[in-house]
Amino acid sequence: MSTTAAVLEAEHHARPTGFRRWLFSTNHKDIGTLYLTFALIMLFLGGISAMLIRAELFMPGLQLLDPDLYNNLITNHALLMIFGAVMPAAAGMANWMIPLMIGAPDMALPRMNNLSFWLLPAGATMLILSFVVPFFGGGSQINTGWTLYPPLSTQVGMAMDFLIFALHLMGISSILASINIIVTLLNMRAPGMTLMKMPIFCWAWLVTAFLLILVMPVLAGGITMLLFDRHFGTSFFNAAGGGDPVLFQHLFWFFGHPEVYILLLPAFGIVAHIIPTFARKPLFGYKVVVGSLLGVATLGMVVWAHHQYTIGMSLAAVQYFMIGTILISIPVGLIVFSFIATMWRGSMTFETPMLFAVAIILTFTFGGLSGIMLAVVPADMQYHDSMFVVAHFHYVLLPGAVFGLLAGVFYWLPKWTGRMYDERLGKIFFWTNMVGFNLTFFPQHFLGLAGMPRRIADYNMIFTEFNVVSSVGALLFGASFLLFAYIVVQTVRNGKRVEEPVWEGARGLEWQLPSPPPFHSWEKSPVLT
């Protein structure tokens, strides 16, 4: 008996180094760091494609890109950002923070954790291959957009198969990561931490992970059917054989709409930690927020067809989808309300994370409200597939996901590294970022209303003005991310050592560990009272 225990002890203290530490890792913090680094790289790749898109749209006419390359780029842009940047960054934060927050020594299934991570670079490689094979004799480019609607996607050459498999790899990665997160949260909490005492970030991820497990397989099923239609002569999306192209849309959006909440909720979870810290006041209405998270997820599962109002559904169907969609404003509104009420009569300071949190409340509400406009069926007859939609979703995706994650980086970087970022640079970054963001996407609303369709590489003269503004804004916005990368690198390398407490108002188990935390987080479970 004693031998086994001794071996276990020894194993716990052996600290791997070099390539074994990173490639073979079973440590939640190292894996979290891998996830975050990967996400940053993908953000830059996705951002470079965004910059090319905006450069092409700077002026009417085809200057830089041929139309297929343009649409290949938007496809890649969307997938790199969603599957490459946002989801992995959120998973990276989950890896880093969940065990610290719930008093666990590590994630429940550490080896599988590493598998979830490594599938991502594999998937990203496949995705990049799908972008480049057409230039090496692999048939036509993927000009379908990220929605991959057939029959257009059955026309595309072999690049589409690479894309399908890239999504499979990333999908498996997310499913495994979600299983791990759910099991960790349900099984690894410190004694005394009941579910209703669990930090909101954990709740947000629990709900997100449920969503992922429910909808990722549906996407996998849909793209598998697409693969069969492409190569094995099936007729799922082919009317001649009795199939229906619209079926793919249902499958895609059954995944796709919950997916937007998968992007949103972890970031909201982060904001729900930041605001209480900097308002020095506990989160207002913890229980209601938990309920709202569940409400968003539940409603979010059953409203997918609001992306397809123009396919010719029956009146009853569109009425149902319209009302369901609009009702999501209740749980989301409650969360926003809770954020504001937490700020209210607090004692606030505005370090960079808090600046982002406040900006998120405002810009996300803006994007959410344009979502409500889109949900109204007759009006969406006009908005659909126009630049108005592009404006809407960047107004929710950036505030609702990217900014939340950025705020999380500023908030937790001192925890992870034991070093403080440069607050002045942080503020400069915040303001350039915010100005660039609004300058890029606000004008797109007007473009859409005035009749500019999305996914066009070339446009009529009447759309010039706002496109110019948008492209200039995008350049500023993009440049601000260079500053972000600089801040992060500079902090990790030679930031000032933090003094405890890192943030005066921060509460929770994660702050009871030193910064940076020891290699094994909670070897002895903390006991909550």
Binding site: S140, S347, F366, F442, I456, D458, I462
Partner: protein, 381 residues
């Protein structure tokens, strides 16, 4: 009350919109003026929700701004730890969702009549049925009741001028003051018919038919574009509606029918065509149908769009050349153009084989195309 609210909301949001962008009519910031009852209702719904959204945004911003200003540590404000025990802390949870629910329901219900109006396609004998078929990358309009048909393709910058990408060779001519039912479908991939002045769009789904309707109240030219990503030239699939008075419409129909009959007679005749006749005709067809990708000078835009000048396919056996034109190249941007008449294909082939220094000297007659078509069809089976 509701009427007033609507007016006010429209004014507030209108002002906000104008203040934040250049307000010239040319560079539109909002829907173009609606030209049908349905479009007007949709416009109203849009302005209403826009107004509600604007008001909510202002309220949220005001509250946040006040809090950011007032409840700051630097002003010495101490956190109110008992806030959740106040009256508001207890009842906010009920009040806020009730309020949101109320707003939600009023949005949904105010959209209700419009929705029904837009969705329920009227029936009746005087309905004008127009079948709108999307092709990669042009539109085909079938006036089912009149037995006439229009092919509508983008014009190139030289002809279109400032309207490039919003201008076509043959517009969709429609009468005012009559209920029109649009039947949307497609022959290849998804497209979507979108004329902003009519304020709706509808997807064209291959193998299925979707419906919409409108009654246009105003004469004029109304421009729009294909709104569903349909491949390479999705950006170059304009729609132009030319609304004319019923009398003018009837005249147009008669003229169109006459010209179609003449063209059909010409194509069906056993006439032996000369090289020059075919070449001239082919050049015209080439410039409307093919030049968008392969360019007027036949040099294409490689690698996506190969050159035809000196192309091995064009210079090779006639059969192979025709096969590519009629059946397309699956998996590439090259579509099947089998819907063109034998005469057009013959002319096109003759043109391509003799233009830009492609000196094959071949002259292809329509009868030969018909014969070869038959063969390729049975061969591909």
């Amino acid at each position: 009350m509701a009427e007033k609210l609507k007016d006010w909301a429209a004014r507030v949001s209108g002002t906000l919109l104008l203040a934040s962008g250049p307000a010239s009519a040319e560079y539109g910031v909002n829907f173009p003026p609606p030209i049908s009852e349905g479009a007007r209702q949709i416009y109203d719904v849009h302005m209403l929700t826009l107004g509600i959204a604007t008001v909510l945004m202002v309220i949220v911003t005001a509250i946040v701004a006040y809090s950011v200003w007032a409840h700051r540590k630097s002003r010495g404000f101490e956190a109110d730890a008992r806030f959740h025990e106040t009256w508001f802390g207890r009842w906010g949870w009920t009040a806020v969702p009730m309020l949101v629910l109320g707003i939600d329901l009023s949005i949904a219900s105010s959209a209700q009549t419009t929705l029904e109006q837009v969705w329920n396609v009227p029936e009746g004998a005087d309905l004008l049925d127009v079948k709108v078929t999307g092709h990669q990358w042009w539109w085909e309009y079938d006036y089912i009741d009149h037995g006439i048909k229009v092919e509508s393709r983008a014009t190139m910058p030289e002809q279109a001028g400032d309207n490039y990408l919003r201008d076509v060779d043959h517009p969709l001519v429609l009468p005012t003051g009559r209920k029109i039912r649009f039947l949307h479908t497609s022959t290849d991939v998804l497209h979507a018919f979108w004329v902003p002045a009519l304020a709706f769009k509808k997807d064209a789904i291959p193998g299925y038919v979707t419906e919409t309707w409108a009654e246009i109240e105003q004469e004029g030219l109304f421009r729009g574009q294909c709104a569903e990503l349909c491949g390479t030239w999705h950006s170059r699939m304009p729609i132009v509606v030319k609304a004319v008075s019923p009398g003018e419409f009837d005249e147009w129909v008669a003229a169109r029918r006459a010209s179609m009959e003449a063209a059909a007679a010409e194509a069906a005749s056993d006439k032996e065509w000369t090289r020059d006749e075919l070449f001239a005709r082919g050049e015209q067809t080439y410039n409307t149908v093919c030049a968008a990708c392969h360019q007027v000078n036949g040099e294409g835009l490689p690698p996506a769009f190969p050159a035809l000048k000196g192309s091995p396919v064009v210079l090779g056996p006639i059969q192979g050349h025709l096969d590519v034109i009629v059946n397309g190249r699956p998996g590439t941007a090259m579509q099947a153009f089998g819907q063109l008449s034998d005469l057009d294909i013959a002319a096109l082939t003759t043109f391509e084989r003799n233009a830009w220094g492609n000196e094959t000297g071949d002259v292809i007659q329509p009868q030969a195309v018909a014969a070869l078509r038959g063969e390729t069809r049975s061969a591909s089976r």
